[in-house]
Symmetry: C2
Subunit: 286 residues, 2 copies
């Protein structure tokens, strides 16, 4: 019989932890003195505690450990280990993904550059999409959006996600701008619509959200371009203009109220540009 301090030294687990395992029923002392409350452990309990420590190091919760080590449940332990194996593979993949992102951010934030735009991931989505060459960004684009919203509304495919405009033209020549109007739709609604396609996301996109009328866009787009260049990035896909909150004059759409702005001052718009690093080498070696 070992007092808690002796057992603690033997297995190199703190007294507090042993008391906690007693409290949650994970490892009960062999005997507890009724008068003093002193806990007495047996050396026979060492293997069980070693299992607990080993499983905890693998990332199991104490509840999972209790279940896995239940008497007569060896097969549970086996399946729990298999599940954990899968989870570990995912964690490792996540780690690589984070490493990629931290490297991207290191490139995007050379010490001293102000934090105006953000590099982040933009998810892939499914959208009702109309691509067209237009001669101006005003009325023709608006007409395309009204047409698209009408089709989506008719199919009851509208979801509460912001519509956006893709600029396929790398250079904005004054005439003949190649744009694509996109309305995100629900996956299950796709069969009811023609002209639905998957719009690719971007693992790194420079993003800039602003409030107010579209008159601000050109200046902000120029600022974003400068920021991209200063951050060591190169543009890797079409610019996307995302309309988070927009004109209520377009009444044909059935939209939730929070999507509708009463005046252009209340518009909320986001510019997103897919990026890749100019120099593909990692920022620092360890």
């Amino acid at each position: 019989m070992l007092k808690i301090g002796d057992f603690s030294r033997l297995v190199r687990v703190t007294i507090k932890t042993l008391r906690h395992y007693d409290a949650v029923g994970l490892l009960r002392p062999d005997r507890v003195d009724a008068a003093t409350g002193y806990r007495y452990y047996s050396a026979m309990q060492v293997p069980r505690l070693q299992w607990i420590v080993a499983l905890k190091d693998l990332g199991f919760s104490l509840d999972e450990i209790r279940d896995s080590l239940a008497d007569g449940q060896e097969s549970r332990l086996h399946t729990a280990l298999l599940r954990r194996r899968g989870a570990l593979l995912e964690e490792i993949a996540d780690g690589h993904e984070r490493l990629r992102r931290v490297d991207a951010m290191l490139r995007g934030t050379p010490a001293g550059v102000s934090v105006a735009a953000v590099v982040r991931q933009v998810p892939e989505c499914q959208a009702y999409a109309l691509r067209c060459t237009v001669d101006s960004l005003g009325q023709p684009v608006e007409a395309l959006f009204e047409q698209a919203e009408a089709a989506v509304a008719k199919a009851q495919a509208r979801i509460d996600r912001s519509p956006f405009l893709l600029f396929h033209d790398p250079e904005h020549r004054d005439r003949d701008i190649d744009v694509e109007v996109c309305i995100p739709v629900a996956d299950e609604a796709a069969p009811r619509l023609t002209a639905v396609r998957r719009v690719a996301g971007a693992s790194d996109a420079g993003c800039l959200t602003y409030e107010g009328s579209y008159a601000r866009t050109p200046a902000l787009a120029a600022g974003l371009a400068a920021w991209i260049d200063a951050g060591g990035y190169v543009i890797a896909g079409p610019l996307r203009e995302v309309y988070h909150r927009f004109g209520a004059d377009q009444r044909g759409y059935r939209l939730p109220a929070h999507r509708i702005a009463a005046t252009p001052d209340d518009y909320i718009t986001e510019l997103q540009i897919p990026l890749v690093r100019r120099d593909p080498a990692p920022a620092t070696e360890t």
Copy 2:
């Protein structure tokens, strides 16, 4: 100006989280109505929140994020990202190590085998070591331990870790057993002693702790051998017998009281055998 619900939808962050960020001072609303307490956000706050989300996804704590995003502290962000990069590399290495261990445990616990012994890591250590060929495990080994403990005590190098005996003989022929007596010593004490060496650890060792006299050892060692075989392991190094608590008859040693057993019934001993998997292929593919 956006009410919290609108801002929440815009940035896809829950209202609860936004309130929490307000409470901890990470992202204060642009304006708070004094009468109603309503929070109002501006679209200008979107980039900051996107930074917060991006850094949180990388594993930063909210405190670290607040520091990293402090005005005029762009260099802090840069150094924080560099630190995080190093931490991520470590996390990935840990993930691989855990994966290796979970595979080892999957091999060590075929469904249905009872959990008597444990596969775990045994750390490397520095020890005062006397290697000798003896003709029995009784008196000659005891004499070696007394000699070693005396030397260690004289150099004041004793630390509170269990001494152990290594069996270099793969087969225990009746005569001429090649054993090594080891007393762990502190790193900084090494120069004051001759016969100190680094004793290698094992990344996977079959471990079995028991209480009582050494008469139990042969039966338990045989059981351990059977368990190893059933688990698909092969012995990969010398057996180690670790004396966690042992005879008080050896009075020459200056030991903490919890190391000394009054009777052989109170001895606590552990058998450890380095192992490798018989079949080096992973247990399961995902």
